[in-house]
């Protein structure tokens, strides 16, 4: 299968803080990769570097076979043009923890604005596309509502539809369910799972181990800005090899319900 994303030797520093220390990562078309790690391990920063919401200090990022930016005289340091980055972001969808819907636009307006202003679509075509994608996340009936009238789970599904309407080659999820009330987490995870099953390429930062276990093709455990351990969900989640991975999983599964009742 073809490679949608390749990250090579990625470094990110915030002042004296060295958050990412040489990340290497490859995501194939149709693959869902879940990134786990304690807070401060650099997982959100990694995700935000992939679509350049954070600028990497060093390293190469290749999306759909196209290297982003051009090399400079400094080894490993790349230079980027704004136009190139905007075009790249239009091809990589992102869903945020806080939804970040545009409150002054209706639900369909939120989904239409990208295709209209960035892909030159007519309002009619964009509305059709918006409705298709709202249906995809099961929220078409709210098309004319304003975001403030929606629950967190509904808002997050609209945010997913907004990203999908750009017809991205991959989707990034940055703790998409962390800000939700517990009873609203499921509907968002289900939408994400359906997307994965449709063959969307996804890079997912989450604390939902059940989602990782049931949906991911591959799990990456990040620790101290490095890939600490990776493998299939069965390998990493059920049979972790490294001590830090075990600690992390232990702290996340301290209290469990007896079977049945677990799982997604």
């Amino acid at each position: 299968m073809s490679e949608v994303l390749r990250v090579e030797n990625l470094h990110k520093r915030f002042g004296p803080l060295h958050v990412l220390r040489g990340i290497n990562l490859s995501v194939k078309k149709g693959e869902t990769v879940v990134i786990l790690g304690a807070s401060g391990s650099g997982k959100s920063t990694l995700l935000r570097c992939v679509n350049f919401l954070e600028m990497p200090n060093e390293g190469r990022i290749t999306v759909e076979g196209k290297l982003v930016g051009r090399a400079t005289t400094k080894p490993g340091v790349m230079a980027y043009s704004n136009a190139e980055l905007n075009a790249l972001r239009a091809r990589v969808g992102m869903v945020f923890q806080q939804f970040n819907l545009f409150p002054h636009m209706t639900v369909e307006g939120n989904v239409m604005i990208g295709p209209m202003k960035l892909r030159g679509m007519s309002a009619d075509a964009a509305r059709t596309l918006a409705h298709d994608n709202l249906r995809r996340v099961g929220i078409l009936e709210k098309a004319r509502e304003y975001p403030a009238r929606l629950s967190g789970g509904q808002q997050q599904r609209v945010a997913i539809a907004r990203a999908l309407a750009m017809e991205p080659s991959m989707m990034l999820f940055d703790e998409a369910t962390s800000a939700l009330d517990p009873e609203l987490v499921g509907e968002v995870l289900l939408s994400m799972r359906r997307l994965a099953e449709e063959g969307m390429t996804m890079l997912v930062v989450t604390h939902e181990l059940g989602f990782a276990y049931n949906v991911a093709h591959r799990v990456i455990f990040l620790e101290g800005g490095e890939v600490h351990e990776q493998g299939t969900p069965q390998q990493v989640l059920l049979n972790p090899q490294r001590e830090r991975t075990r600690d992390f999983l232990r702290s996340h599964t301290l209290f469990r319900l007896p079977e049945p009742g677990g799982g997604l």
């Binding site: 919401l53 905007n86 972001r89 239009a90 409150p103 604005i113 907004r162």
Partner: protein
């Protein structure tokens, strides 16, 4: 003491007052046309990441906000033409002065409005592939301007009333005309009562209009 009110004398000169009212509207209109785009521009400069540009904007707003309007009007009418060697007519001098000063206030209003929008909005637009100009136009300003409406209106009210200062350089706005009418009719009380009513009615109607607009374009939050 019994004062004999007599508005008839004033109404015989209503043509002059009307002319003055038109002058007032023209002044205010031109000043607004200058102030709003200028305010937005200065606010954006102020928010620039380049310290030099941001400082220029700060200097501009501080100079114009700290000077009394009447001093600025004298300065632009008498002093500035000497510096640049171009004569200003009174309309140009006063509308420019009030426009530049209101622009400085507007800049702060725009800046506050823009900064009140959560950074997540910028990020979401950026993640879609929008550049800063597009984000500002479609995402940030439509939200910011809604929040700015009340303060915006206060500033415009101040501007509208400040046009009366144009009388000091004998521009034919409503207060200047009123002083002419009152000296011809010897009816200053009636004349200035009419002028006060004029300001009240215009600003009152405008405030209702603004309240309606606020309601009309409100978005659930």
């Amino acid at each position: 003491m019994g004062y004999e009110w007599d508005f008839a004398a004033v109404f015989r000169h209503s043509g002059l007052l009307l002319e003055g009212a038109l002058g007032t509207f023209r002044l205010a209109g031109m000043a607004i046309l200058i102030a709003i785009p200028l305010g937005l521009l200065v606010a954006l400069l102020r928010l620039s990441r380049l310290p030099v540009i941001s400082w220029l904007a700060v200097i501009y707003t501080d100079v114009f906000r700290t000077s009394p309007s009447i001093v600025l009007i004298y300065w632009f009418f008498f002093a500035f033409p000497l510096l640049v060697g171009v004569d200003f007519d009174t309309f140009t001098a006063v509308s420019l002065t009030l426009g530049l000063q209101t622009g400085a206030y507007m800049a702060e209003v725009f800046r506050g409005g823009i900064q009140s929008i959560r950074p997540g909005q910028w990020q979401a637009a950026k993640a879609l592939g929008m550049g800063p100009a597009m984000t500002l136009r479609y995402i940030i300003l439509p939200q910011a301007v809604r929040r700015m409406i009340p303060v915006f209106f206060t500033r415009l009210t101040e501007l509208f009333k400040a046009t009366s200062l144009a009388a000091v350089v004998s521009y034919a706005e409503v207060v200047q005309m009123a002083s002419r009418v009152s000296s011809e009719t010897f009816r200053p009380i009636e004349t200035y009562t009419v002028v006060a009513l004029f300001f009240f009615v215009v600003i009152f109607l405008a405030s209702r209009l603004v309240r309606y607009a606020e309601h009309r374009f409100a978005v659930p939050e």
